[in-house]
């Protein structure tokens, strides 16, 4: 019995040693006590969008000298995201910047954060109630109109179209789609919205976007264009366009990362994509948190120190939302110039 217990302790010890070895590498993080700790919580850790965002977060960390890092759940799951935030509250970080998976599910935990005196800011979460400020790269309606301009150009300003969003619960995606539809009604009289299915979901998944688009094109042979929103929409729809041999007949526009979409742009499956740089958004989000921590007044014209976010404007609808002007067009001519 004694020997057994000894063995158990030995195994336990080796576990602890293993853990502490891994910890040695990162042990300097506690030394930053006293400085502000700002943590950015993305929807997940592996999505290329948030990998790119982390570059901006790290850039802000080295520019500001503050303890700023990104920490997300291992999967896009509101439950897991809430747990990451809960653990950050427990650690007593100074500010949390969240890109919510599902704003509704995060209300209780973000309220807890704010009650604990933590600065809470969000990005792409215009409906979040328990946040001090939400920053958007741009006015959502204007960006929707901008996506529509790109699609209309490809479609020759006429034909039947529909809209695709990540989730119908995603506030930003829906505002872009609404902006696109409103702009089409105003500026492109020959374009009509598919009334039977005016909004479809891609669930932020390229595979679902592809399946949904295939179904749509089979069900509605007249359908000529899709307004994509999430970064998975246009690439997924492009795959369907290629597979059904509809290149040059139907069109899609939407958000997309340059490197991931190089091929579909060069093949002509997609004429142009629109984008804001997640790295800039990450930088701006951390920068906003730092400004609040420093007690700076948040007013119209706020400069967050990165291109497109130099003159933030409060939204006319929601007094918590700050909007920049951070959009860009990517087409086959400039796809290589972004470096990500």
């Amino acid at each position: 019995m004694k020997q057994r217990r000894f063995k158990a302790i030995a195994v336990g010890l080796s576990l602890a040693v293993g853990l502490s070895l891994s910890a040695c590498v990162t042990d300097d993080s506690t030394s930053a006590e006293g400085d502000h700790t700002i943590v950015i919580v993305p929807k997940d850790s592996t999505n290329p969008w948030f990998v790119r965002m982390e570059e901006g977060v790290k850039a802000f960390a080295s520019d500001s000298g503050l303890n700023v890092y990104q920490k997300g759940p291992s999967e896009t799951d509101a439950t897991m995201q809430a747990q990451v935030i809960r653990d950050l509250i427990a650690q007593g970080v100074d500010a949390i910047g969240v890109i919510p998976v599902d704003p509704g599910a995060l209300e209780p935990v973000l309220k807890e954060a704010m009650d604990a005196g933590i600065v809470v800011v969000t990005h792409e979460g215009a409906t979040q109630e328990n946040t001090m400020y939400d920053i958007e790269a741009f006015n959502n309606t204007d960006y929707g109109a901008f996506i529509m301009d790109n699609l209309a150009e490809a479609m020759g300003e006429e034909g039947l179209y529909t809209t695709m969003v990540g989730h119908v619960t995603n506030a930003s995606h829906n505002e872009w789609a609404d902006g696109a539809v409103a702009h089409a009604a105003e500026a492109y009289p020959n374009m009509t919205l598919l009334e039977a299915e005016p909004r479809v979901e891609s669930q932020d998944d390229g595979e679902v976007a592809y399946q949904t688009a295939k179904e749509l094109f089979k069900k509605y042979p007249d359908l000529k264009g899709i307004v994509g929103t999430s970064s998975f929409d246009a690439p997924g729809v492009a795959r369907a366009i290629e597979e059904l041999g509809l290149t040059g007949k139907v069109f899609v526009s939407g958000t997309g990362l340059p490197a991931a979409n190089k091929e579909i742009l060069e093949k002509g499956l997609v004429q142009s994509l629109t984008l804001w740089d997640p790295a800039d958004a990450g930088y701006a989000l951390a920068s906003l948190a730092a400004k609040i921590l420093d007690g700076e007044e948040i007013v119209d014209g706020l400069d967050l120190g990165v291109v497109g976010y130099e003159s933030m404007q409060f939204s006319s609808i929601n007094p918590k939302v700050l909007e920049g002007a951070g959009w860009v067009v990517i087409n086959k001519d400039n796809v290589d110039s972004f470096g990500f």
Binding site: A8, D77, G92
Partner: protein, 344 residues
């Protein structure tokens, strides 16, 4: 024999249980390590409160899985039952007390929702038990099937979207902190633990379950109604899952078909880590509870390291599970010796 002496015999048996001892040692080492490298977090009350809010969600599911595993089965449908009953409860709450309605309607709405959720959980569990005991389908297949079935029902009810806008009174009660310190979620977990403890060691049920798990044929010939026992075990698992669903409803103030999608494997991991024999017949409540706490401490500890991505979490969990299974084999009488004699 007096109650006191049986209790003290039991206490000694518990202390002698090697798996419980090992887990206690691991937990102690983990806590010492935590205290050493993350002292500021370790001494903060909020760290422990945050853990106590998180682990009841999957801890309750693990307790259900534990009971089914003791009788030699398994319940993979716990997450689906939690989500389905949580969604049902949310729908009922919203239909009785829609947003903006009179606050006085919240109380009947919450009572109806909680009652519905527990009954629905019990029925879902009984359905599992019926298929396992009466139709004699292996438990792993039954519960994998009902996992899909219950998730499917949840998806259809919600169209895959989250249901939110619950009366605020709900989370004020179920996410409250008793005396400003003890989270309600922990209290619910503790209540369920006490219920299981009572059933397992103060009633004949515990002995019957161990017998059924050790040798179903012997149990049958001893005159036990094995069908009813199995159905009741799965029913308990269903009820505990429903309680987990209520906890999740309070934690997220909403219900969705795919919340906690990673909890199924976590619950199984906890039960095996807790020393329950996957073939049935043995396992202790104390081991499972310790395993829940070990994994939660490990998880929260990992979140204090900015540079360890949560992407490593499945890797660490998988490693811990395999390590424990190997250790359990190692400690089986004679196993260690056999290891070498075979080689020679």
């Amino acid at each position: 024999m007096s109650v006191f002496s049986t209790a003290s015999v039991r206490m000694r048996a518990l202390a002698k249980d090697p798996q419980v001892t090992r887990l206690a040692v691991i937990l102690a080492l983990l806590l010492i390590f935590f205290a050493a490298v993350r002292t500021p977090s370790f001494v903060r009350l909020s760290t422990w409160q945050s853990m106590a809010v998180q682990f009841p969600e999957f801890g309750l599911m693990a307790l259900g899985v534990m009971l089914t595993m003791i009788i030699g089965g398994i319940d993979l449908s716990v997450v689906a039952i939690a989500n389905m009953t949580g969604i049902g409860a949310a729908v009922i709450m919203l239909s009785i007390a829609p947003p903006g309605s009179d606050p006085s309607q919240a109380v009947p709405a919450i009572l109806a929702a909680v009652a519905f959720s527990l009954v629905a959980g019990a029925l879902a569990g009984m359905f599992n038990g019926f298929l396992v005991a009466k139709i004699k389908i292996p438990a792993i297949l039954v519960t994998l099937g009902t996992f899909e079935l219950f998730t499917g029902i949840a998806v259809i009810i919600t169209q895959g979207k989250p249901i939110s806008g619950l009366p605020t009174q709900y989370s004020e009660v179920f996410a409250a902190k008793l005396g400003g310190i003890v989270p309600m979620q922990l209290v619910m977990f503790a209540l369920v633990v006490v219920v299981i403890w009572f059933l397992m060691s103060r009633t004949a049920l515990g002995t019957k379950l161990y017998l059924l798990g050790t040798n179903p044929t012997a149990a049958e010939f001893s005159g036990l109604n094995t069908v009813s026992l199995t159905v009741r075990t799965y029913m308990l698992s269903g009820i505990f899952s429903a309680v987990a669903g209520l906890v999740m409803l309070a934690n997220y103030n909403s219900a969705k078909a795919d919340y906690g999608s990673t909890y199924t494997l976590l619950a199984v991991l906890i039960v095996v880590l807790g020393g329950v024999n996957p073939n049935g017949g043995s396992g202790r409540l104390a081991g499972t509870v310790l395993a829940v706490i070990v994994l939660q401490v490990l998880s929260s500890l990992l979140n204090t390291f900015p540079d360890i991505s949560n992407f490593y979490r499945p890797l660490i969990y998988g490693g811990v599970l395999l390590l424990v299974i190997v250790m359990n084999q190692w400690y089986k009488p004679g196993n260690f010796a056999r290891f070498f004699t075979r080689k020679g």
